[in-house]
Amino acid sequence: MATKLTIGLLLAPMIFVGLLLSADYVVVDVREGGPDGMHIIVPVPLSLIRMALTFAPAEAKYVQVPEIAEYAEYLPYAERIIEVLREAPDGVLVSVEERDETVLVEKVGDTVEVHVNNGDEVVAVAIPLDAVLDILRAYDGEGFDTRDLIRAIGRAHGNIVHVRSGDEEVKIYVW
């Protein structure tokens, strides 16, 4: 009995460490401006969130969005749009150049990247098309299973959000 308990106690942290090492991480990186500004990095292992959700209360396991049902008839079109974009060659979809601001929407591989730069602020968002498709398909008429949403986020790789305003910066990336 003591041996089994010892093995169990040894295995549990090993499984935990294994999960951490093999997981996709969403990393939130916030850098405050100024000489005393803090730099906060929060790595969130997606597989642990998925595992934790198993034991979470029902409200946390499901995101209710009944409003989308009103537009449900357009979801197949949205899926088709994503599929067409996935198949399209890389290139600039939209570019707006004004005196103080530029906006660029570009298809790069399996992502659509949006870049906005007005001199003071820079926003870059990479939207993974596979993740959007997964999210669209995960909608069941009432809402989403949270685990499906987490799985969809895990489809992304690299920087997904980068916002810089003055000397403050927020980055969200998946690796």
Partner: protein, 189 residues
């Protein structure tokens, strides 16, 4: 023998994949350019795969059908009610189509002139502001109008019109508008 078969299969697969990739590269795109003159002028470029525009056309068609059937629209597409029925439009178009090259409409007003005419296999809409500011030309192939009105009853066939527009205008300009310092160009290539 097995090695040869495998090589042949691998070659065929490679050709197929490169063929699909080439087809994607060669697929037509809709291009829109809006350019304001001057160093500070805005420049807008939109490039969309035509297959994407076809999806938008399918949505528009669905919305128009709803509007015509009185079902209403959920995404805010409103058809202006000018009392023109599609069936009447179709009959008028049949008459105009058979009329050959002619000026169908000429409007001279204080603000400028508008002329709609048929030139060969195209309907040409030209407008010209008297102050010389706004000036434009829109060319629509006759086959596109045919396709647009190919639906039945009070239905218009946007998808067919778009398919025909792609087929007949690829490589050519569809819209060219000059309005003061602003130029708008739309073409498929």
């Amino acid at each position: 023998m097995r090695k040869r078969t495998l090589t042949a299969v691998a070659l065929a697969a490679a050709l197929l994949v490169s063929g699909v990739a080439q087809a994607q590269q060669d697929a037509p795109w809709l291009h829109i350019r809006v350019t304001e003159a001057g160093e500070d002028g805005s420049r807008v470029a939109v490039n969309l795969p035509v297959s994407l525009v076809q999806v938008f056309a399918a949505i528009a068609e669905k919305e128009i059908r709803k509007e015509l059937s009185g079902e209403g629209s959920r995404i805010g597409f409103d058809m202006d009610d000018h009392g023109i029925r599609i069936t009447d439009l179709r009959s008028a178009w049949t008459e105009l189509r058979n009329a050959g090259d002619a000026d169908f409409v000429e409007v001279e007003g204080g603000d400028g002139s508008v002329k709609i005419s048929r030139a060969g296999d195209k309907i040409v809409i030209e407008f010209d502001g008297h102050d010389g500011d706004a000036k434009g030309r829109v060319e629509v192939p006759i086959s596109v109008v045919d396709a647009l009105l190919s639906g039945e009853g009070e239905q218009i066939n946007i998808r067919a019109a778009l398919d025909e527009l792609i087929r007949s205008t690829t490589g050519g300009e569809i819209v060219f508008i000059e309005d003061g310092d602003t130029t708008v160009r739309i073409w498929i290539e």
